[in-house]
Symmetry: none
Subunit: 429 residues, 2 copies
């Protein structure tokens, strides 16, 4: 099952993931899926993907296979400073070129360490070498530059004129380098058909309900194709429109976006990569409103989500993690007898937490969360996953009861996300 | 960087992941890493891994490549009932065999639906077909059986006598079928060698420094092999011992673990999958000590890490997220003039946060964190990534200054982890 793109006369890509740690299963390869999605979004379908260990012959073989499958080869991993990082050497061998020291690169690597008040380890010097005739790609987050090469010299087992780009394996570096260094190089390379992908992000209902509401729109073979992925309650709908040119594809995607918005209404909270905390934060900043949070079972998860967003200090001021009953009373002022009568996990305590937090912080909104994240502490009346969430504002206090499933970490994240969603539905009215 | 296994005279495996949704990046392939780890644990190293779309020719090609790389091919995906699921046909083509209806299988699939009070969709009948001469593998969680084949007939492009196993792509089904149907078949296949993997988790120094300290021990080709992976400051050393039997491999791994512990000392904080918050929490619980946290730039990240651990309520009681200056003063009691004189991001404020938090919460330990997580807000004197962390206890208050690199999210996570590490070094003395 999956997403199929028409790939008639487009340029194609192959992804090569390099690293023993992937082959042994110690690391899940998230770079391949990230790069695939990015490539598809610029109209370059990925036709195959290879994973090999840190072994020169295997890497060379995979680069040969990849460049025979596709016009663009994107490889990650093995550019680090240690002995087992040998992608640099393998690329040189594949290209039939020698490794050359680039003084400029060496300077940049040294500067990287100097600016952090550290000395460059001798081992790092190897990262200033690239195969002759290739181009280094800047890495602002680490010391290993990427390398971009074009296969020009005809040699046995190697196809001519393919673009080969190698990036370090660290996911954050892959992401930043792809956006800043690779994408600009690829824009001209893509050509041919245009693929436009729009993502709509939903919260507050399940995947099967969304599939039911959309019906035929989710049929395979339809263009635009509409697909759906789910993660911790966030459901992402992908509208994938393929057309001869970008404008046409864009129009098709826009038309479907409108249709989906009409059908799904307030389930849709955002687009692209937006998190719930993004759209909530945007609105709060826009309207000059402020928020405080008081958490028990989520233990900081909600505050973390809120402050993950750059500039959160414009609207987020105070957070309390009142994990013990005593902290709920001493720090927030939740009456001890309310806790004694109804229990720490109750509608009344969630409400008091939100109300007290708002009063103490002097904010426009406050959220209170109390629940049982498990794996222990559940009872028949108050099962694991039971969470009360309260949102207080000058329009009064709304408290809801939820029972989330799965494990401790899912329950905590779902509770925090659901709190943000309750706030969203309040501030976007 | 990664993990290398000696693979001289062992049987080897190759993994093939099939599905357009993986190639387009809509789905992260977690089956490959799961299967890799399982195979390595029974002494069958994975030497390569291929990902292809739902396309007969691509699947056949990948099966050929895979069976030339390895003795065992484990493929997943494309066994579903819909039109784009064509792995069954591709396997038949690869084997040079016809698909045959197996009445028994059809009955099982029908029973699967009947037992759930549903009717079998006509499309599901296709799942009762397997290539002639192959064996169906039971699937208790879904309707698609797996298929096990041995390549016996010599044909061009295909190597003789390789074991090819195909499983459906649903991760839960892969896991269950591997444990229940595949593993028993593989025990005899693996034969010979035993592999024991130990993981040591380190914090407080960089990968290159650890490599420097270990020197020759990290040499490729050494047995046990010692490899290292890094994520957000946590460095995991893998000791991979290969021997004729399990006991011998275990002894070799133990000997190396002792050596590593002697060399790296307090950099090693734990084993296996342990997080810093696990070992810190364990010790606090053991010694009946309590902790509170006061966070600014980390905005709840530290509290979340602490409360990620089940049972954290035994030692964690209070947390404050004093994101604004006013909150630092009103909630914790940090003197306003200290903030005015030294700035919110200063040694003095971190110290006051920790001391005030400990006093207010009445705990044995308290941590204060203040810094600049970026992407805005940095200056020459106080750059992005500057973080002061303070740990207060009845032995006094220790405050340290750090400059973390990378992006906002890395800076926040590194700061929170570093705080836990400072606490660890205090409580494990």
């Amino acid at each position: 099952m999956g997403i199929r793109l028409k790939s008639g006369f487009m340029k194609k890509a192959c992804i090569v993931s390099i690293g023993d740690e992937i082959l042994t299963g110690q690391t899940v390869d998230t770079n391949a899926s990230y790069l695939s999605e990015k490539l598809v979004s610029i109209g370059v379908p990925v036709v195959s993907s290879y994973t090999v260990g840190d072994d020169i012959e295997s890497i060379v073989k995979s680069l040969k296979l990849a460049s025979s499958d596709a016009d663009l080869v994107l490889a990650t991993g093995g550019l680090g400073p240690t002995d087992d990082d040998i992608t640099r050497q393998a690329l040189a061998k594949f290209l039939g070129a020698e490794l050359e020291l680039q003084e400029e690169l060496l300077q940049e690597i040294q500067d990287f360490f100097t600016s952090r008040g550290r000395q460059m380890a001798a081992k790092c010097k190897v990262q200033a070498y690239v195969p002759a005739g290739t181009k280094a790609l800047a890495n602002n987050l680490g010391t290993a530059p990427g390398i971009m090469a074009e296969t020009t010299r005809p040699e046995p087992g190697r196809t001519k004129g393919k673009l080969v780009i190698v990036l370090p394996g660290v996911p954050s570096e892959v992401r930043q380098m792809f956006e800043e260094s690779v994408l600009p190089e690829l824009r001209s390379f893509a050509g041919g058909q245009a693929v436009v992908i729009r993502k709509l992000r939903c919260f507050g209902t399940g995947e099967s309900n969304i599939a039911g509401l959309l019906g035929d729109m989710m049929q395979r073979g339809r263009n635009p194709l509409i697909n759906c992925t789910a993660e911790y309650g966030v459901i992402t709908l992908h509208i994938i429109a393929t057309a001869k040119d970008r404008i046409q594809a864009q129009q098709m995607a826009e038309k479907d976006e409108k249709l989906l918005r009409e059908t799904l209404g307030e389930f849709i909270y955002g687009t692209g990569e937006q998190a719930l905390a993004d759209v909530v934060g945007e609105k709060l900043a826009q309207e000059n409103k402020t928020i405080a949070v008081a958490e028990s079972c989520t233990g900081g998860t909600l505050a973390k989500l809120v402050t993950d967003i750059p500039g959160a200090s414009h609207y987020f001021t105070h957070g309390w993690i009142t994990y013990s009953n005593e902290a709920k009373t001493s720090e927030l002022g939740v009456p001890a007898d309310v806790i004694a009568i109804y229990g720490a996990v109750s509608e009344q305590v969630a409400e008091a937490m939100a109300q007290c937090a708002r009063k103490k912080a002097g904010t426009d909104f406050a959220i209170g969360i109390t629940g049982i994240a498990g794996p222990a502490g559940g009872s028949e009346q108050k099962p694991i996953g039971l969470v009360y969430i309260s949102v207080d504002s000058n329009n009064g206090c709304e408290t809801k009861r939820f029972v989330f499933s799965h494990d401790r970490s899912s329950i905590r994240l779902r509770a925090a996300q659901t709190a943000l969603n309750m706030l969203r539905l309040k501030i976007y009215v």
